[in-house]
């Protein structure tokens, strides 16, 4: 795809500029590559590229590279990873999008002495059976759902929001295990007060998703919490609840509570406008920065963390959203306002 | 044959190439009004290629085509139909998915304007279609709104001829019209061909069946490997001779008569 080539070229040019007049070979001591599933079409890419740029500022002797594809194809991803390994970098950071497909490639790299850090998506198998990467840097999908659920229950107990009767967990991608884990976490939190959580596959198309949610909500009148496991689908959930007269938003005693995920502009602005109760952050910025830091320490001193490095979750609601907005605005720039689809 | 008459269609030095295959070689031939011409030759001799040019389906690679003395420069079935050329081929001419009435007028649907908007005149299409069913001897049980897939082979040919007559065509090309027909149906189709000639249409009749065409045609044009090898009136050649030339090729019969 042309967009990614351009962006890749831009990054290369940027790196050349950063390294200044020095000769290319002598410009750095280490070179780390992040092979990512987050392509240029995903605005979240900036969390990673910006934090890596920040890392380079701090460590001028390290060169970082970000490679990704906009094609959601496992085959393509493995190909990218192979290419990155062939350049013999001093370290690789990679999401374990499929432990089966990535294991042989990564084991080969580790055998060659290239240290690997998993980020964003871990190998779900237990330690010892999983791919022998140094550590995992990122969030925990289950914990995200659990904490969001627990926080909502605390607020309900304090009488600030209605008690959950029944919860809809709206999933846009039925094949995505991480999304189901978020729902599972929410379900486990809700179990403590015996509130049922229904997983509903709403598909990714907005019109169809709205139609499916409307069918479900029309029948299930006791549902008063909607957990949208992608922040871009939270305005759809809100819109459907509003049309059905279910009083979505924070404040009404008989209203419907909308909960979503990620520190994205649409989630933050939803909270500011009182339409969304809460969202979470998995420290996305750190997921770009920390793997580089770990690879640096490992290369320099042979040091690495002996447990997984969870970068979240932290809950964002009306009490702390004000602190997050400027930070996120800084990452997204002018894109921030465009993404607010309320 | 009165050679003084101006030909209705005239091909001059026509060549046709399909890629690297030459389908027609320097063919020059005239056709006259009120004639039934048998176009004969072995498979791949170029019979269908020749009529495809006349019916506008393909354009000649080189050479000239005249209709009524006017040079034809662009080739499209629609233009040919507008000039009065009708083709009936065994496998072509009827859309199985459409009703008889719709097929009858396909490409020339009558239009009735309602508030200025042109709607096709289904009433007229059905009325005329029904007339054709009766006049051209199709079974009386045939439904003008039924799909043509229900027609027998002979009925299909008769129906196509009926259509040519209705639209006052001047030239009717019949490409193997009697293949797969019963003896009785074959007779019926050949009778129709002769009747059309008598109504002063030009009928170009392609067939493999030499004895059949010899009984009804006024003249034969024999093609071989894309070239015209003979052009003879019926009275100058017996069916047996005709059959022999096609079977053995013209090289073995240098003395065959030619008309010009």
């Amino acid at each position: 795809m042309r967009g990614i080539t351009l962006r890749f070229a831009a990054i290369v040019v940027l790196l050349l500029l950063v390294t200044g007049g020095n000769s290319y070979a002598a410009a750095y001591k280490y070179r780390f590559v992040m092979v990512s599933h987050i392509g240029s079409n995903d605005p979240n890419m900036k969390w990673l590229t910006l934090s890596m740029a920040e890392f380079e500022k701090r460590y001028p002797d390290v060169k970082t590279e970000y490679v990704s594809t906009n094609e959601y194809s496992l085959q393509k991803f493995v190909e990218l990873l192979r290419q990155a390994i062939a350049t013999k970098p001093n370290g690789i950071a990679v999401p374990i999008v499929s432990s089966d497909a990535l294991a042989p490639v990564l084991k080969g790299a580790i055998a060659q002495g290239i240290p690997v850090v998993a980020f964003n998506i871990p190998d779900p198998r237990p330690q010892g059976k999983r791919i022998p990467y140094l550590t995992y840097v990122g969030g925990d999908e289950y914990l995200a759902g659990l904490r969001l659920g627990q926080h909502a229950l605390e607020l309900a107990k304090a009488g600030k929001i209605p008690n959950p009767q029944r919860v809809l967990c709206a999933i846009h991608d039925a094949a995505h295990q991480g999304l189901k884990l978020r729902c599972k976490g929410m379900a486990d939190a809700m179990k403590t007060i015996n509130a049922q959580v229904d997983n509903l596959f709403i598909t990714a198309d907005p019109a169809r998703a709205r139609s499916i949610m409307q069918s479900y909500l029309t029948k299930n009148k006791s549902v008063n919490y909607i957990f949208a496991v992608a922040s871009w689908s939270s305005p759809w959930a809100y819109g459907v609840a509003k049309e059905l007269g279910r009083n979505p938003g924070v404040g009404a005693s008989n209203g419907t509570i909308v909960i979503t995920v990620d520190e994205s502009p649409v989630a933050l602005e939803g909270i500011k406008q009182g339409k969304v109760l809460e969202t979470h952050s998995q420290g996305f910025w750190l997921q770009g920065y920390a793997p580089m830091e770990i690879l640096y320490w490992y290369n320099n001193l042979g040091l690495w963390p002996q447990a997984d490095f969870l970068t979240g979750p932290v809950i964002i609601d009306s009490t702390n959203v004000g602190r997050w907005v400027p930070f996120v605005r800084n990452v997204f720039g002018t894109e921030y306002d465009k993404q607010v689809t309320w | 044959m009165e050679t003084e008459r101006a030909p209705l269609i005239s091909l001059r030095n026509v060549n046709l190439w399909y890629g690297t295959v030459q389908a027609l070689r320097d063919v020059s031939v005239d056709f006259y009004q009120g004639e039934l011409v048998g176009l004969v030759g072995d498979n791949g001799a170029g019979k269908t290629s020749l009529v495809n040019i006349i019916s506008g389906i393909v354009a000649p690679t080189s050479g000239e085509v005249y209709l009524d003395g006017q040079r034809i420069t662009s080739f499209h079935p629609k233009l040919a139909i507008d000039l009065g050329v009708e083709t009936t081929q065994q496998s072509v001419g009827l859309c199985d998915n459409l009703s008889i009435a719709r097929n009858y007028f396909l490409g020339r649907e009558p239009v009735r304007r309602i508030a200025g908007i042109p709607f096709i005149d289904l009433g007229k299409m059905r009325k005329e279609g029904r007339k054709a069913i009766t006049a051209f001897g199709l079974r009386e049980s045939v439904d003008v709104d039924g799909e043509v897939a229900l027609l027998s082979g002979g009925e299909r040919q008769a129906f196509k001829i009926a259509r040519a007559v209705y639209f006052r065509s001047r030239i009717l090309i019949m490409d193997e019209p009697t293949n797969n027909l019963s003896v009785r149906e074959r007779e019926r189709v050949n009778d129709l061909a002769v009747q059309l000639k008598d109504q002063s249409l030009l009928v170009i009749y392609i067939t493999h069946d030499i004895f059949q065409i010899h009984r009804i045609a006024d003249r034969f044009i024999i093609l071989e490997n894309g070239a015209k090898v003979a052009d003879v009136p019926r009275n100058l050649m017996s069916a047996e001779d005709l059959e022999r030339i096609i079977r053995e090729g013209v090289g073995n019969d240098a003395g065959s008569p030619r008309s010009g």
Partner: protein, 330 residues
Amino acid sequence: MRAPAVGIQHVTRPLTRFRKRPDAAIVLGTILVFLVFGAVDPESWFQFFTMINITRYAAILGLLAIGQTIVILSREIDLSVGSVYGIVAIAFIASEPTLGVPLSLLAALMLAAAIGLLNALLVLRGGISSMIATLGALFFYRGIIYVTTGGTVMRFSQGARAHWLTQAFGGQWLRLDNAFLWFMLIAVLASLVLYHSRFGNHLLAVGGDETTALARGVTVVRTKTIAFVACSLLAGLSGIVTIAQNPQTHVTLGMQLELESIAAAVIGGTQLGGGRGTVLGSVLGTFFLTAVRSEMITLGAPPSWYTAFVGIALLLGATINTVMARRSGA
């Protein structure tokens, strides 16, 4: 020879005639489904919101299905409609701040027509099968959506939402969505064009037997080009209607709608072999799919089941239609 006879009018019984219709099965199927759901689950089935929900999604899918039907009738297929739906809607949003609602609407529809024209060119001049050409278009336009939007679709401004033209597509009239009224209007128009215009007769002929259509003087290339353009325009209109109704959207806009539009047409009795099918069938196929999915959700079917259901309905519909066509001798 042209005997002025009054032909003996052959009388076909209405029932036989109905059975011969390509959409006979879906007419019965839809009636059955509505009756059964009404009986099984009267409490939620007869709710106003259930009906609004079904008609709203049916309007969006139905516009696509009508376009798809036109292309399938011409013996081609258009796999790009979902992406066209998305890119046209997003072009409408993206150009509105600079062009204003009327002009951006026009520009978006022109984009739709241009895409249809390009599809037609690839298929008819380029000689690529429509399956491949429009599959390429599906990926290409989705890719363009990603690249141009950077993954997020900007919002449709408040002023634009209130504009009378936006309301004409996205508003309501007598508690009915305008989108649904547009859908009904276009269904009637498309039926008239298909069965009562010269173009329609030519389209059916081209789909049924292209060689014959050509030999009868039908301009095949032009006819198919119009079919592709009409299909793209309807897909674009559907996208615009969606945005006018619900301005919150995403780059996933229209994903897999191409498959649902084909499913709706096929369940409605449109034969992929071309030349046979009706707009009514596709409209009912749309209602059938939408209603059954909605009812499956309200009855609490497992969340991923309706994807499988679309497949089952498609196979079942195609089988029933084929069997009925064979038995009626069509």
